[in-house]
């Protein structure tokens, strides 16, 4: 094993100095990001040393099954992980020359060239980045909008927050927290004193029009329940666009929608991305959506990106057996194959004590070998390119039946777990 890991091993060292090396167009470089949930049942490693980069004006896709940690990864990027979850380690390097200049003297370790490590910036600054730097479209539009406030007003709120922030940059109190006890009392006595102004409402109507809602002026005064699912998702996108973000994170933006509506929303996202040259992180379980939208892809399994590369790297020459299995599981619309090739077993629980130091896929992997029983770093799948990489020993060696694990190797553990 030792001779194979030398040279090509690129697992990020935990707290490196400066931003990781990468492509010159990178707008975001994530290194070794880990998020854990500390629950009564134990520690859950939802995201486990995640590394990836997002470039200017591209769509980066993260694909994985439910419970693979893709949504938590998205929340970790924008620092929205709630208790009992916590980001335990990692760096999120974001390219912003102005921000870098501002903090070069105060927080030198968080600045490298044009990049700043948002994890090491003060909480308030990180908060101020939500909107103009990162913004997010959530999965379920029905439950992500407040049912008791009109759609227009909710979008206007987002606009207003950004407007106040621009007038007074980096002062987080001028943003959401500006609404304190004093304002609450005044507003209760004078109910017409809203947070939003007429100009932000007009901007909200413009945004609604931009995302293709007919009669925006009228629809802005309606409540979420009066919108259809597709229209609500458009409204959510309008809200995310309010801050003109550099990176738009779309977490399963079309999962709750029918295919014809999904096609509309995907077209909309594509148009907006091309118009405004936004970078998009597209998180989904649907390989078809990934294929239509993305330039580069990361496949997540049990909290890790197990394989990443360009779309054709991942779809046409996958290395990791999980990626192969995922692609083999999908019935092909244009060619009904006689038999699907599913992956046996279930997605593992992410409880720390049950994960152990091994390839997390080894228990379901048809090509598991004794080498798989130790932590697997990320290897280059094609020597010389930095694009296609996988956390799998098969990148380095051929499958050899002599080393194969006995089929009942993991049964003992499963007895203990009592799940499968």
């Amino acid at each position: 094993m030792s001779e194979t890991t030398s040279g090509t091993e690129r697992a990020g060292t935990p707290t490196g100095d400066g931003a990781p090396e990468g492509h010159p167009d990178d707008v975001l470089r994530v290194r070794d990001l880990s998020t854990r949930f500390f629950t009564e049942e134990g520690q859950i490693n939802a995201v486990e040393s995640l590394d990836f980069t997002v470039r200017d004006g591209e769509v980066f896709g993260i694909v994985g099954e439910s419970g693979s940690g893709k949504s938590v990864a998205a929340l970790s990027l924008v620092d929205l992980v709630d208790s009992p979850g916590r980001i335990t380690s990692g760096e999120v390097w974001y390219r912003d020359a102005d921000l870098a200049d501002e903090f070069r003297d105060d927080v030198p370790e968080a600045v490298d060239g044009e990049f700043v490590d948002t994890r090491r910036l003060p909480e308030g600054v990180r908060r101020a980045l939500r909107g103009p730097a990162f913004s997010m479209v959530f999965q379920d539009p029905m439950s992500s909008l407040n049912p008791s406030i009109t759609v227009g007003e909710q979008i206007a709120e987002a606009v207003e927050v950004q407007r106040r922030a621009r007038a007074n940059p980096r002062r987080t109190r001028s943003r959401t927290q500006g609404y304190g006890m004093g304002r609450l009392i005044v507003d209760s006595l004078l109910p017409n004193r809203g947070y939003t102004s007429e100009s932000s409402m007009n901007r909200a109507i413009e945004l609604l029009e931009q995302v293709g809602i007919p009669d925006p002026a009228e629809r802005a005064h309606e409540y979420p329940h009066q919108f259809s699912g597709g229209m609500l998702q458009r409204a959510m996108i309008a809200q995310a666009l309010a801050g003109e973000p550099d990176v738009l994170i779309a977490d399963e933006p079309t999962t709750a929608l029918d295919v014809t509506i999904q096609a509309q929303i995907l077209n909309l996202l594509r148009d907006l991305q091309e118009e405004q040259d936004t970078s998009v992180v597209m998180i989904t379980h649907d390989l078809g959506v990934i294929a239509r939208m993305c330039n580069r892809v990361g496949v997540m399994y049990a909290g890790q990106i197990v394989e990443r590369g360009t779309l054709s790297d991942v779809f046409d020459s996958p290395v990791h057996p999980y990626t192969e299995g995922l692609i083999g599981s999908i019935p092909d619309l244009d060619d009904p194959a006689p038999r699907l090739q599913p992956i046996e077993g279930n997605v593992p629980s992410l409880l720390d004590e049950e994960m152990g130091g091994r390839c997390f896929f080894a228990d379901r992997c048809p090509k598991a070998m004794s080498d798989c029983l130790q932590p697997i770093p990320e290897y280059d799948a094609e020597p010389g390119t930095d694009e296609h990489a996988a956390r799998c020993v098969l990148t380095e060696r051929e499958y050899d039946e002599a080393d194969a694990l006995p089929p009942d190797h993991f049964d003992r553990n499963e007895e203990v777990r009592g799940d499968e």
């Binding site: 099954e65 439910s66 007009n202 109507i205 007919p214 009669d215 925006p216 002026a217 009228e218 259809s228 597709g230 229209m231 029918d258 295919v259 014809t260 509506i261 999904q262 096609a263 509309q264 995907l266 077209n267 594509r270 379980h285 649907d286 390989l287 078809g288 959506v289 990934i290 294929a291 239509r292 993305c294 779309l311 054709s312 779809f315 046409d316 299995g325 995922l326 692609i327 083999g328 599981s329 999908i330 019935p331 092909d332 619309l333 244009d334 060619d335 009904p336 194959a337 038999r339 699907l340 090739q341 599913p342 992956i343 046996e344 279930n346 997605v347 009592g418 799940d419 499968e420």
Partner: protein
């Protein structure tokens, strides 16, 4: 998994099935003399399911596919229509007869999390049906008690669906989604049914687990000679598992036929659009732009007259007096639809104009109003008599007389699609669309218009060479006979595959 032989009796035959839900229908509403409004969930569905086959029912959410599945099993009472199962009328059954039917027809529900009682062990869940139907009828000969017999049968079933017999005393929460769905399938199989309704059995599951369940369902069908009604919204799953497909839209079947025919040469514009919209998981998909259907599915409270799909259809038939490109006709239709059915008011346009206007001296300028309307509904390119009529209507609308404007447009632009409800025609591969109903409405437009109508609507994705003759369906004088011949061709080719 066999094609129905000619002349074979269907196992299940549904005719004109309707299921309406009524709102404002309480005693109180009647005292106040409020008109009950109906939600037409299922509005006249005809289906046949032949022994041993899998019929797929596919459609978007709200099209009534699940309601159809539940109503034909009499889990819901139908408003109208008949269901015959193996020659007997299901709607007329009662007492013992109904109990026997329940034994022969089972169902697997969509959501594996809410369809299993959390307070029962999976052994009890699987064995419950046996107990209700008084099985075994006689005490087993080997001295086991009836209860033990049922327990052993549950063990067998669990093993058969890929679970371990040791798990019989576990509770549903101890299982993952895929495993729970296996329990649901074991429960449906417990009574040895002939016919099983599978109501979106894999849509709550991850792809890798979904493939396991699909394989399991195929194996079980072969082993026990089951007949499936497979309800799904995922077209690739339907293509994979079904022998024949019925496509539903807004409570009606719009197209039905053998799976390969439907997927390789769809007739109904809705089926075409549905197939076009699905993202394929392959590299060729990258950057593919689809022309999605505009708008949302209309409310089943007030479905459009005539063909329910006409409000979104990219190929609406124009009246004999009108001959304009499809996009322009669509613009006029949209305007009418908004006026007639969605309460569109001139006032809202004035408000928008006012909000865009700088300064306080806003005046209601009809020219600006018409300009805004033309832009909103893509009416700018109209010319000739069509333009005059639309200009007229906009003028009337600017004066706030919405009904009159709608009336004016209706007189000039009423489509055959809205006047008459299309029926399923075309034999084995049938579509409910006026384009295929008779020759009068066929696409004998000049080539330019056909090009417009068909823009981006070709056979989706890379198609097998069989598709070479698909376009024959668009043949202006392709009567039903030709279409049927095509369908037969395709069936023959599939056999070779």
């Amino acid at each position: 998994m066999s094609e129905p032989a000619a002349g074979e009796e269907p196992l299940l035959e549904v005719r004109g099935l309707r299921k309406y839900y009524f709102e404002n229908d309480s005693l109180f509403d009647r005292l106040l003399r409020r008109e009950p409004t109906s939600v037409k969930a299922v509005d006249g569905v005809d289906l046949e399911v032949y022994p041993g086959e899998t019929l797929g029912v596919v459609g978007e959410s709200g099209c009534g596919k699940s309601t159809t599945g539940e109503t034909l099993l009499r889990l819901r009472e139908a408003t109208d229509g008949s269901v015959r199962f193996d020659g007997e009328d299901v709607m007329e059954m009662s007492g013992d007869e109904l109990t026997r039917f329940r034994k022969r027809a089972g169902i697997v529900f969509q959501d594996p999390f809410s369809s299993l009682d959390p307070r029962m062990t999976v052994g009890d869940i699987v064995g419950e049906g046996l107990k209700i139907h008084g099985m075994p009828e006689e005490s087993p000969e080997d001295g086991r008690s009836k209860r033990e017999w049922r327990r052993d049968r549950a063990r067998e079933l669990l093993e058969r669906v890929g679970l371990s017999a040791d798990q019989i005393d576990r509770y549903p929460h101890e299982f993952s989604g895929g495993q729970r769905q296996r329990v649901g399938i074991a429960r449906a199989l417990a009574l040895d049914p002939e016919f099983v309704v599978l109501d979106e059995p894999v849509s709550a599951l991850d792809v890798s687990v979904q493939a396991q369940i699909l394989n399991l369902l195929e194996d079980l069908q072969e082993e026990f000679g089951l007949t499936y009604l497979f309800i799904a919204h995922d077209l690739s799953v339907v293509r994979h598992i079904c022998d024949r497909v019925a496509v539903m839209y807004l409570g009606e079947v719009v197209e039905t036929g053998p799976t390969d025919d439907i997927f390789e040469s769809p007739k109904h514009p809705y089926t075409e659009a549905l197939l076009e919209s699905v993202p394929r998981a392959s590299v060729e998909e990258q950057g593919r732009r689809v022309d999605p259907l505009p708008g949302d599915v209309p409310s089943p409270r007030n479905p459009p007259s005539g063909c329910h799909f006409r409000t979104r259809c990219p190929e609406v038939i124009q009246p004999a007096t009108v001959d304009i490109p499809q996009e322009q006709y669509r613009g006029v239709m949209n305007l009418r639809d908004r006026l007639e059915r969605q309460g569109f008011t001139a006032e809202s346009v004035w408000e928008t104009l006012e909000s865009e206007h700088d300064g306080d001296d806003f005046e209601r300028d009809t020219v600006a109003f018409k300009e805004a309307m033309r832009e909103e509904f893509d009416l700018a390119d109209l010319s000739g008599a069509t333009m005059d009529t639309v200009e007229d209507a906009l003028e009337i609308l600017a004066n706030g007389r919405e009904d009159e404007a709608a009336e004016r447009l209706r007189e000039a632009f009423a489509s055959p699609c809205e006047e008459e409800e299309p029926v399923l025609t075309g034999g084995e591969h049938a579509a409910a669309c006026h384009l295929f109903a008779d020759e009068e409405y066929d696409r004998d437009l000049d080539p330019e218009d056909v090009g417009n109508a068909m823009g981006g609507m070709g056979a989706p994705g890379p198609s097998p060479p069989v598709d070479g003759d698909v376009d024959d369906d668009l043949d202006p004088d392709g009567p039903d006979g030709t279409v049927e011949a095509d369908a037969d061709d395709s069936v023959g080719t599939d056999g070779d595959r």
